[in-house]
């Protein structure tokens, strides 16, 4: 009984701590929304410039109703799903191949060193400019044309960071492995890869919002009606700005959830790292 009570106590203590921690953040969010609402009313801002949050929320709830009704479908939710798959597909292909290529080439230092300047140069190219070309290659309605853009955008930062993590190994930690006469394979798996994990995850954290930006902006260059980028451009040109804002809201929600998933994966993959950070 005593232990059960203690557990309950620590549990309620924990939730109070969590509330204390998140309370200021939540208050800021509410204040900003309220301020937005009042400023639009007070200065009589036209809805095509900036709609009120309450109006956006109303439009959003209409779409939620359509989504929940089995006899109808919501264009917003269909668009969200399509864009989500494009971003996710591009993220997996781009980050996956970036990590894989880094793992393969890190074995040959000369090759990596020869490749790095190109990777860094490619990383500074505005990849999004290739969107019309990708539409031409894969077809404007083919989701792969957007995935390709996302994949290229996230590929370079992921590869560069992974190579750094695999090569910037502490000299003594490496000598220790040599003193054990360890095989290159063992050094890769027991030293280089664990050493690279923080670098890889910091790349993935950058890549997660980038993948969504890439997908939505690529859709601005044309795509199926049911994608967030096309949804935003269509609603904006029809002067239904509140509806355009619902798509922006959805894009933000996907972006945030991507980021949270990466954070959770990071904590699971590197339990030592976050305990250290939280100290």
């Amino acid at each position: 009984m005593a232990t059960a009570n203690q557990q309950e106590e620590t549990f309620s203590k924990r939730s109070i701590d969590a509330m204390r921690y998140y309370f200021p953040t939540i208050m800021v969010a509410i204040s900003v929304l309220l301020l937005w609402e009042f400023l639009v009313v007070i200065f009589d801002i036209q809805q095509f410039l900036l709609p009120k949050p309450s109006v956006i929320l109303g439009k959003f709830m209409e779409e939620v109703d359509l989504f929940l009704d089995p006899d109808s479908s919501s264009l917003l939710f269909n668009a969200t799903r399509a864009t989500f798959y494009e971003a996710l597909g591009g993220f997996i292909i781009g980050c996956g191949s970036g990590i894989l290529l880094a793992l393969i080439t890190a074995r040959w230092t000369v090759l990596t060193e020869a490749m790095m300047p190109f990777a860094i140069a490619a990383n500074s190219v505005p990849i999004i400019a290739f969107a019309p070309i990708m539409n031409n290659w894969f077809g404007i309605t083919n989701p792969f044309s957007k995935m390709a853009i996302v994949a290229i955008i996230v590929f370079f930062p992921t590869m560069i960071n992974t190579v750094r993590g695999l090569t910037l190994v502490d000299e003594r930690q490496l000598e220790l492995m040599h003193s054990y006469a360890a095989t290159p394979f063992k050094i890769l798996f027991s030293l280089r890869i664990p050493n690279a994990l923080p670098y890889i995850f910091s790349a993935l954290r950058v890549a997660s919002p980038l993948s969504l930006i890439g997908a939505v902006v690529a859709e601005f260059f044309g795509g199926p009606r049911a994608t967030l980028g096309v949804f935003i451009t269509q609603e904006a040109s029809a002067f239904d700005f509140a509806r355009a804002w619902t798509a922006i809201l959805m894009a933000s929600l996907i972006g945030i959830s991507f980021y949270i998933v990466v954070l959770i994966a990071e904590r699971l993959a590197m339990p030592w790292y976050h305990e250290q950070q939280n100290l």
Binding site: Q173, Y180, A181, K186, S190, P194, N195, L197, Y273
Partner: protein, 263 residues
Amino acid sequence: MSEASEIPAIYAQGVNKIFNPKQENEVVALQNINFEAQQGEFISLIGPSGCGKSTLLRLIANLIDPTSGILQINGKVPEQARLDRDYGIVFQAATLYEWRTVSKNVQLPLEVMGYSKQKRQRRAQEMLEMVELGQFGNHYPWQLSGGMQQRVSIARALAFEPKLLLMDEPFGALDEFTRERMNMELLRIWETTHVTVVFVTHSISEAVFMSNRIVVMSPRPGRITEIIENDIPYPRNNDTRESPEFFQKVTEVRELLRDAHEV
């Protein structure tokens, strides 16, 4: 301590190490090094920075190669000795893998050498108990103090029972009190395991307290100036530090180091 018929733990004859040979920035790190360490000895290498004591240790460990001369570890070339896992090494920094728990760090060499999981865990626990950290197996390195981390690193170096223990200023980063405690602990381990120790230090009292022979080195070029026999009887303890023989030895080493510096 050792029989004459035994193969020496370390045999060095005319060993030279030159960094960047025949270039403008050529450095003679070691010149004509001659010495022998018998099995079970505790040998300190002492000298000011730049005297090549760490370089000599790294030659023995086969982390670098000599430019010329003969160097043998347990009668083998250093590379063969390394491949045979003849030695364990401890650096000045504990050099633990921060993503591994303390126990997993001690298991690292055993993993490389293909011990079974059960044997690894049992051995790691034994070693941690030897350095009095039996309760800390599941901690991460950052949760331990500097002295505790260094003890883990010693446990790791001895986990696979190497015949030779190489230590490169292992307690150099610790405070005086912790260092003296670690000295005692290392002597205790040495006396129970009969491992040969080569101990690099720049602390005269540490060298005198620990070793049965002290190799005094001097810089530019790095060379051995004198090898001092230290016959203060073991087991040594805190009283040893206050004995007249101890002061006498410390003075002897200090004068040798000073003379070497003035030449």
